[in-house]
Symmetry: C2
Subunit: 495 residues, 2 copies
Amino acid sequence: MESLNTSAQINAPQAAILLFGATGDLARRKLYPALYQLYRQKKLHPSFFVFGMARRPMDDETYRALVAESLENPDEQFLRHCYYQSLDVERLEDYERLQRRLLDLEASAGTAGNRLFYLSIAPDHFEPLAHHLKESGLVETAGFRRLVIEKPFGYDLPSAEKLNRALCQVFQESEIFRIDHYLGKTMVQNIEVIRFANSIFEPIWNNRYIAGIQVTASESIGVEERAGYYDRFGALRDMVQNHLLQMVAMVAMEPPSRLETEAIRDEKVKVLNALRVLSGAEIDHALVRGQYVRGIVDGEIRRAYREEDGVDPRSTTETYVAAKIYVDNFRFAHVPFFVRTGKRLRQKITEIVVQFKDVPWNLYVKKSGRLEPNRLIIRIQPDEGIHLWLNTKQGGDRLRIAPVDMEVSRFTGIGFNSPEAYELLLYDALIGDSTNFTRWDEVAASWAWIDPIAKRFKEKGEDGLKFYPAGSMGPELADLLLSKEGLHWWEGTQA
Amino acid sequence: MESLNTSAQINAPQAAILLFGATGDLARRKLYPALYQLYRQKKLHPSFFVFGMARRPMDDETYRALVAESLENPDEQFLRHCYYQSLDVERLEDYERLQRRLLDLEASAGTAGNRLFYLSIAPDHFEPLAHHLKESGLVETAGFRRLVIEKPFGYDLPSAEKLNRALCQVFQESEIFRIDHYLGKTMVQNIEVIRFANSIFEPIWNNRYIAGIQVTASESIGVEERAGYYDRFGALRDMVQNHLLQMVAMVAMEPPSRLETEAIRDEKVKVLNALRVLSGAEIDHALVRGQYVRGIVDGEIRRAYREEDGVDPRSTTETYVAAKIYVDNFRFAHVPFFVRTGKRLRQKITEIVVQFKDVPWNLYVKKSGRLEPNRLIIRIQPDEGIHLWLNTKQGGDRLRIAPVDMEVSRFTGIGFNSPEAYELLLYDALIGDSTNFTRWDEVAASWAWIDPIAKRFKEKGEDGLKFYPAGSMGPELADLLLSKEGLHWWEGTQA
């Protein structure tokens, strides 16, 4: 999709937002606040309603109270747009009942039959739900029909293919919006803008000038309520397959010929297909797999992963993974991409560090010793910002060259003031812009790269699993991954 | 000179600092405070003294009171290092008397015969003074002898050559320190550091990526006490020949093979020799010459230049000049350098703007229209800083790409905290580092470029002289200079 004018705002069409998993954590923490923000900013069409579904029986008023609980200063007007029906995902009758009620509501609300199906439910339910949407006739509608689906999209490539086949019997690829909520983050969207709206970076954005790229997504939290899911998936499937590889793709992609959804996705999938596939011992050398043990995070003692409720006490699931990845194409050949993600790490930080090569000849070596390399840092969270580390001469000292941090961030008074990712993504789905959602071939390419690694992890079990204390920055072996290349991790300096 | 280790500080040797023009404005505003700062920072050798000279008779105590007046919190210890003798520049006997007293003082102070002659006097006196220094035997000393000489170094190339010949009968070129106080400014010194200590700029620092370069040195003050001098010299000779061309040279020079004084100066002189020499009508097209008339600066009505005390009421001297300059070499061929300087302008600002070319293809044209070009700004005064204007996507608005100012400056809490230029330059002269002083061939090359322009200005007189109101940014014709190239002046945004 391409916007047809330079006006900043596209009006969302009328729509019924059909939310499966209406009582769940994501709905309450993210989706209702996001919808409410869109409503308050008048980004929703006046003819809209939210139709919540979950197993639990509840009348509309109770549901509205539940929605209101998740909002700051809820507005009665907004809540009147909310309806509810209990639904057992496996029961076709429930869908048929939904269809009947929906027709009435659509007629009175004037939503023109536009239906946005939002699946905020356990992945096991995706396939039966799609099947029932079709059987019940819910997807036969006079308006648009779109499916928004949360991660995980499969457990590996075969299961993802199976799921996709099931969805494609009901929806066209263009109607499927696979959420990767990192793509809804302003600073992730800025990767493209920084690269393609600024002339100074393109000439140096390649293997002649870049020494290495680091993508970090560290969390200080543990597995929280998701232990069952997490212990099955682990960090590799939960974070690397989607968020981290998407960021790698955005850093490494060629400029698209146009800013159109499919042109951008075409470039991203080219990168994902160019990832050097690893096998056997290569995996052991290029990846570090960790699991947290007891330690101190933010001054509080945290138990080991294996002690968490819902986790197998002998689990060998990785809660940390670091990988050295190569993108085998002309632009980035031989440039290592280091990605890492983990739970119970020292700080919550998501950022991309583009480390440029050293100056070809250090004129200042006698005066200042080794110079720090230039780094462009895109800080995605918690403090959105762009940082560029340069070397300058500080006035007070005649000789010393010292690195300084040029930045744009809330610390410099120019915050990005970004809305929540879900606000952007819900709006995009409503206007039918799928640029910031993952296309099937991107998902398939990612799994194709992940599968041999996940298989190797499983085979090796505890062999090669590194334990790291909660509150550290992960296993020390992850430092070796970089020091072998003469590099080291750049740790975020602002918390 | 090259520093031989990575230690930040070189110890200054013992020295007698012989100051001609000891009661003048520069001495009082800049030199005494600079010497005092060096003293307080222990950057002067304990064996030093300042020997002031001027026409006025005065004893040491009176002189010390005069020095003390120019200092904040003067220290009695420091003042005891100050001595005075009246001197008529034209009278040999005065120099002989000086020599006798000096030998005594040197013996008691232990300055090892090191003599730094500092000429802060009217340029007419330079030649007779040099002559008498020789005749009186003052330059025959057991230690070093160095001459620090203030601008102007000549009125044109022939007079500069004549002056240089006179000096060279007394001093070696390596003993002559021609002050261009802009070279003592930390941010001017940072031009070299930004370029050569950062790998990201070198690949784009050429005519393939740079659209144009702007060097602005605007002043809000008028001619003050210097009307007689100024009316004879004008902005071209007073500012462009030295400060602005030096900045152009530093922006355009090739990396030196080593950070040694002569290697750096060799590169600068190559640029000055590559300046495209203009003649006749070319000058009329490439230069704008202005003179201020009555107007309002900072809320106060200011009289016209021709109304200033000491200025010829029919003067055609330019108080403003803007020029389009080409550096005809491989790196910068076809890149216009726009320089401008003037008095009674809206704001006091000295900065260099490197404007990069537009992105090769604007993907965002439909969404955001034209994108602003990237600019690297080196702000020399009043607010030292480095700014890099990038385009980013602001979070609050789905589509809009907007320019942001990445900066390092006191506004971001990372000030350069620079000492005064004279502090750096006096120290450099004492340790014998002439990197930040201009070599004779640089001066000669600058005058060679200036002379035909100055000649043309004189020939044309009032014809072509543009009058601009005090408090404006100069004649409108200066905008045309850029708009012909599809460019415009970037006005500093912080005051």
